[in-house]
């Protein structure tokens, strides 16, 4: 076999039931499926049919690196898990990305990825060292918090091992449990920690002494300097006097210390804010933890993120002079806008976000909340954007008068939040056990009309100086909570942007904005802004974002460096530098379309996905007003869905891809299987 660049050549099939390992050559999949999520989608399509539930032994955890992982190409340290998500409603195939050093170590150990199957008889962890995979007892690890687990594994195997671990939330099958690796990096969005727990899998620990060889080293070094234009400037520890969402900061008594750290192995950025010497939830000792995105609201959630105009602060509609990616703002990595931009005045029109009054600023309590999520191994987004706002709003609206959680509901109280997390993570009592099933399921058991749809009367728009409706449960499609969708958290984006983000969410199976924050050019914005649901440009930008997400999770790359609308073949250059396989922007986009089609086919075959189902899943949240009082009509929304399906090559009536579309991307076998199941639209004459 010719020397393999980028990839290391092996995928391990690991069966926990009978403790066996077999090896699959990576070349069975590449380069048609370029790596990461594309390979995972192909494996899942081939191996997991309808009827399998998240906690069944037949569910699989597929973990894949990308060809750029551990090559020195920035952002290649990002890797991806896929599985049937217990946190989605209904349970569906989903994915979750993760940074840290684990993926690089897996490749140094000789593997491009794993397929983890079955269920261990007792608590188990995998120890992988240079091609050898051992099944070891996790009896002495079970019950430990996340960082204690990581420390114990380093004590046993040496400080140089890299691990992914679950905490008590995963062990107890809390549906939004996460998997954690170094630098507080988590795979949190698919309830993956609970799938680990259901398989009695506490951790995977790896040591690799091998090498990864990129094809084009001068190009790797060039990319290190060019991607996202790293500042290459000193970043000292900074004493901060205030804290909060930029533009809404509050003073912190005594101040706090901030540093910046990289998210993943070999990245050329330092996006993550490291908070030094913070209060712990579990002892007197101070701890360091990372504030990456949503954790900022743990410290105070009185008002929403400010509006910045169509060009900022999220960087949605961009010009060549002013373009950056959404979350860079939170890590304080964004330079001031370029005022010489001819569109500057139209792009940047700052204004305050909605007043929400969920909880007051309390720096120490915020640190405790983040520490609880980190140590229990639970998705912060669900806690901070759904559970706690729900309790805050519901309490004020009187919906919990008959509910006894064992303490008075008070989200301003550190002791209450510690108690709340304890009863959920350890499934204590009726309500602890119920809330461990995740917000979407718990609210349906309690009664959605009262416990989900009751209107909160504390939201006030400062864009139109008016009280606006908001439901106490900030639920969007597929059992997830709102994210950049025009209402709730990060709601200060206008209709031309939020119809796009809601379309992203409609076709997904989980919160999708973590890997495909919406972006488009400002020139397109000027074309589509007056009637975004009737502009083909809106659908076109959503498709670009979806395809870029497939590319990011496959090459691999990161949502904080991609897409760069003004360097559209960046990811193709990354792939080619890693593998030596010639790749153009167009060819990579075809690979992304293929991966996306497989994902669509999985949702159609396994979960009955169709137009009516997904339109009805997303439409309700958009009936609550955005900060300008705007909603979307049924007709508008369906016109946009028509445009999207048409551009995607889907049948407009069913939302199913046509045979011609599957065959265009080399998936005739997929079309044949779906046709046999009656899930291929009839051919149009």
């Amino acid at each position: 076999m010719a020397e393999l660049y980028g990839y290391v050549g092996k995928i391990a099939r690991i069966n926990l039931t009978d403790q066996t390992v077999s090896i699959i050559p990576t070349t069975n999949y590449v380069p048609k499926y370029i790596g990461g999520r594309s390979i995972a989608n192909k494996i899942f399509w081939d191996e997991v049919g309808p009827g399998v539930k998240a906690f069944d032994p037949e569910n699989k955890i597929i973990y894949m690196t990308g060809p750029t992982t551990a090559t020195g190409i920035p952002t290649g340290g990002r890797t991806v898990f896929t599985t049937i998500s217990p946190n989605s409603l209904p349970e569906q195939y989903a994915w979750s990305g993760i940074g840290g050093d684990f993926g690089a170590e897996v490749k140094f150990a000789g593997f491009d990825g794993f397929i983890i199957e079955g269920k261990a008889k007792e608590p188990t962890y995998l120890f992988i060292e240079d091609g050898d995979i051992k099944f070891l007892s996790a009896r002495n690890l079970w019950g430990k918090l996340v960082h204690a687990t990581q420390s114990k594994l380093e004590e046993i195997h040496g400080q140089d091992v890299k691990s992914v671990v679950i905490g008590p939330a995963g062990e107890n099958l809390v549906r939004n449990a996460s998997v954690t690796t170094s630098n507080d990096n988590v795979a949190a969005k698919a309830g993956l920690g609970a799938v680990f727990g259901s398989k009695n899998l506490k951790a995977i620990t790896v040591r690799g002494r091998g090498t990864v060889i990129p094809a084009n080293i001068p190009k790797v070094l060039e990319l290190r300097k060019k991607m996202a234009e790293p500042s290459m400037a000193p970043r000292p520890v900074v004493h901060e006097t205030h804290h909060g969402i930029p533009g809404t900061e509050k003073p912190v008594p005594g101040g706090w210390k901030r540093a910046q750290v990289a998210c993943s192995y070999g990245c050329n950025q330092h996006c993550m804010c490291l908070m030094l010497g913070m209060k712990s939830a579990f002892g007197e000792e101070k701890v360091n933890h990372v504030e990456k995105c949503v954790s900022i609201v743990a410290f105070g959630f009185e008002e929403d993120v400010p509006y910045g105009g169509p060009g900022g602060p999220g960087g949605i509609f961009q010009t060549e002079q002013n373009h950056y990616l959404a979350c860079k703002l939170l890590s304080r990595e964004v330079d001031p806008p370029d005022t010489s931009d001819p569109y500057f005045e139209q792009q940047f029109t700052p204004g305050p976000g909605d007043v929400l009054n969920f909880w007051k600023h309390d720096f120490e309590k915020g640190s405790v909340i983040n520490d609880l999520c980190n140590e229990y191994g639970i998705d912060k987004w669900d806690v901070l954007i759904w559970l706690l706002p729900w309790l805050s709003m519901g309490k004020k609206e009187g919906v919990f008068d008959e509910i006894d959680l064992g303490m008075e509901i008070d989200v301003e109280s550190e002791e209450f939040i510690k108690h709340l997390m304890d009863i959920i993570v350890y499934r204590k009592g009726y309500y602890g056990d119920l809330l461990a099933e995740g917000m979407a399921r718990a609210i349906r058991v309690l009664g959605k009309e009262k416990f989900g749809d009751t209107i909160y009367h504390g939201r006030y728009s400062r864009q139109i100086n008016k009280r606006l409706d908001l439901p106490i449960s900030l639920e969007t499609a597929w059992g997830h909570s709102v994210h950049w969708q025009g209402r709730g958290f990060e709601a200060s984006i206008a209709k031309p942007a939020w119809v796009a983000t809601n379309l992203h969410q409609m076709t997904s199976t989980r919160d999708t904005q973590t890997i495909q924050h919406h972006h488009d050019t400002f020139e397109n914005y000027l074309e589509l802004k007056d009637d975004p649901c009737r502009s083909p440009l809106t659908a076109q930008a959503v498709i670009m974002g979806e395809n870029k997400a497939e590319i990011k999770d496959s090459v691999t790359c990161c949502d904080w460096q991609s897409p760069n609308l003004f360097w559209p073949d960046m990811e193709a250059q990354m792939f080619e530098a890693a593998t030596g396989i010639p790749m153009t922007e167009e060819e990579l986009n075809i690979a992304a379309e293929r991966s996306r089609l497989l994902f669509r086919a999985i949702t159609i075959r396994n979960y009955g996905r169709a137009r009516e189902l997904e339109v009805n899943a997303i439409f309700p949240i958009m009936q609550y007003p955005d900060p300008w009082g705007e909603t979307v009509t049924w007709e508008e929304w369906n016109d946009l869905v028509d445009l999207y399906y048409e551009q995607r090559g889907y049948d407009k009536e069913t939302g199913w891809p046509t045979r011609a579309t599957y065959e265009k991307y080399g998936l005739k076998d997929v079309a044949d299987e779906l046709e046999a199941l009656g899930k291929l639209p009839p051919a149009k004459k």
Binding site: A70, T71, G72, D101, A104, F108, H147, Q150, S151, E154, Q159, D160, S182, N183, D184, G208, R209, G210, T211, V212, I213, P214, I217, V220, L221, R224, K225, P230, S231, M232, A233, P234, R235, P236, V237, A259, Q260, V261, A262, Y265, G266, C267, N268, Q269, H270, L274, V287, N288, V290
Partner: protein, 163 residues
Amino acid sequence: MNEKKQTTRALGRHIVQSPPEVSFCAGCSACEIVCSLVHDGVVGHAYSRIFVNKGTRSMVSTIYSCQHCLDHPCYEACPRKDQAMCLDENGIVYINEEHCIGCKRCIKACVFDPPRINYVHSKDKTKRKAKKCDLCRTRPEGPACIEFCQVSCLGLSKSENSD
């Protein structure tokens, strides 16, 4: 890790890590990666001549690299001195791998803990090689670890014995 074997000794110019109040190491491993890329064309822990010790919990990283001792005990210990372990005209000790037999005597002679010389293990004895910082002596741009440090927390000590 500590420097229990270290004694006060004369050092040549070497890679230094800035204190956190000047620049905080982002823990990205860029220095390790570019080191092994420019020297060996691969990425792998055993091939780096500079090491990042990351705290999984603390997220604080410490950089270790050769201190270029002026009395160069590694050079003195090499059984193939001047063939495998060599000394250039600027006093930089470097390894000519063609002649390195992988005996590890240079590593044992290193006075620092952890030793600042890396080692490639291999079943093939002829491929066992020591790896040591040579300050990228043949690279016109100078040390790659400094050039590619995204937070500029690495530098070259200003003069012998300085930090």
